[in-house]
Amino acid sequence: MNCEEVQKYLMDSLDKSLGLEHVQEIEEHLGGCALCSEELASLAACQRLVFSLPAVDPPANFTARVMAEVREAAHPPSFWERLFVPLQMKIPLQATALLLIAVLAAYVYQKEPLQQESVVAIRPERFSSKQNETDKAAPSVAQAPPVDSRTTKAAKEANPGALPQEFIDAAQSKEPEALPKPSEQKKNTESQPGTPATTLAPEQVRPPATLTPTPNSSKLSEAASPRPEKSSPSGPAQATGALAPVPQTETDSALRGAPAAGKSMLSPEPRERNVASSLDALSSGTVLPADHELAIRLKKPTRDDKGTADRLRSDRAQVERQSSTLQQEEKSLDQARERAIETGEPQTVWLMIPRNQYALLKKDLAGLGNIEMESPILANKNDTVSKSSDRIRIRVTIFPPLPSASTLPSQPSTR
């Protein structure tokens, strides 16, 4: 057997699987052939080296890790197991997250309480039904706020025969103009530092608790006119633009109390009460109408006619009833009266006076002219201001004096 043939059997010799018939021949050849003998020794050494490589133990937790994965593959965790397992880690995390969400929600809720209440007060049922009635009766007044339709309706019911058409027209034409556009109203609200950005629907607009034709309110009323066509130079809107009190949103008027404190007719304490009452009314979802409504026709002014304020003050001095809270009302009445005489257009004034001085006010108004309409409007059940407060709201419409006979067109004499 030569070296080439021996090489074929070296593998079997290493594996000790060499047949008995070849063992003797291979051994004889290896004994005489150094090359083949060295080759076999080298291969055997390699085999021993590989075989002598130490066995390495797997990691200690190898079986547990494998079985954990095997069990997970066999039984995929359910939704609840994924959600809560491991409990010791996920439950505290979820509880913390829930607490944070609750705190955040409470913070957000407390931060915007007025806005939520305003949303509640947008469409009270009481006024929605009345609005529908008004819409059916007079489509032209459909856009008027509820208080307007109520005012007009109440005036018609109180004295339908005596109510002059002029008053009805004035009521229909003046009231809507006081409605601020939503965008302008929002602007007004946002322009007040520190006031929440609340946007109220036109239905929500109502006269303020106390309105005085101050310069500030005049500017605001001009800016808040909802109908541009109404502010034509000769229209009533312009006539009332300077002095006519403009109904504002409850929130607006309530929150404007502080900046306008120096110019308001009320002392700070009553204004605070008004603000509180207005907010109460907002939260109760009601819109407050006037408690009384008066319409007076001014007497024709004479030369010796003094200012109403002066005359009223002198009258008051006579009866020794000094009341500082009525001075501003008198002043505003005087201004409205002068304005009505100058422009020839009706003027509307909102007053807030103590309840027990209503009779005195009527007496004062009787001195200015004839009271053509007096409409005591019953307080609403939810009217917290009227019920809880000793002050009442009065809407006074001052009509200019009727033209005298000399100024009237000449009538053909019957005689």
Binding site: L43, C46, Q47, V50, F51, P54, V56, V66, V70, A74
Partner: protein
């Protein structure tokens, strides 16, 4: 464990019937061989642990397809060789593999002489480097036959090649390993 006394085939049957715990017996029985095979193919302890874990998980997932024509160990070795080969390719392309011998526990090391222990470690490192430098197919043959002492028939079944081919390839692989370790043999010869 109640199933430790039963054979692989019975364990496999139980696992196939839904008894997951029986698979634990198979893991404990074959984890060392699979881990060492993978470890010698990869040369990295942590990689070997991860791949060996994947091997058993893969075996569990596909155990329903095991028909029992071959031994379970043969089937498991085949899965191990496939996973190790795949990982070895990715490791070769990613970085130069290094051999970590510090972490392994040498079972057959009865030497207490530090000098001999160091020499042993050096030899083992050289052999491991030689295996790493071999063609993966050659390394698989050498490890299966010379380290794991798997029969030619089983090797042929694992690799899906005839026994004659296994022998010829193994001969070629041993020659390649001898050539790689030749400098070491020459040094030993000169030293002796």
């Amino acid at each position: 464990m109640f199933a430790e006394g039963i054979g692989d085939a019975e364990c496999v049957r139980r696992v196939q019937q839904g008894d997951t715990d029986s698979f634990e017996v198979l893991v404990q029985r074959h984890q060392k061989a699979i881990f060492n095979l993978v470890y010698r193919l990869l040369g990295d302890y942590d990689e070997a642990a991860e791949v060996a874990q994947e091997v058993f998980l893969s075996a569990f997932k596909s155990i329903q397809h095991f028909r029992g024509d071959a031994n379970f160990s043969t089937w498991l070795y085949r899965i191990g060789l496939n996973h190790a080969s795949t990982r070895r390719k990715s490791l070769n392309s990613a970085q130069q593999r290094h051999i970590s011998l510090e972490g392994m526990e040498v079972i057959a090391d009865g030497s207490v002489d530090p000098a001999k222990s160091f020499e042993h470690k050096e030899i083992q490192e050289r052999v491991q480097q030689a295996l790493n430098n071999l063609d993966p197919a050659d390394a698989r043959l050498i490890l299966l036959r010379d380290l794991q002492d798997v029969s030619y028939e089983d090797v042929a079944e694992m690799l899906g090649i005839p026994i004659g081919t296994v022998k010829s390839r193994l001969h070629r692989a041993r020659q390649a390993l001898k050539a790689t370790l030749a400098p070491y043999f020459q040094t030993n010869r000169k030293a002796s």
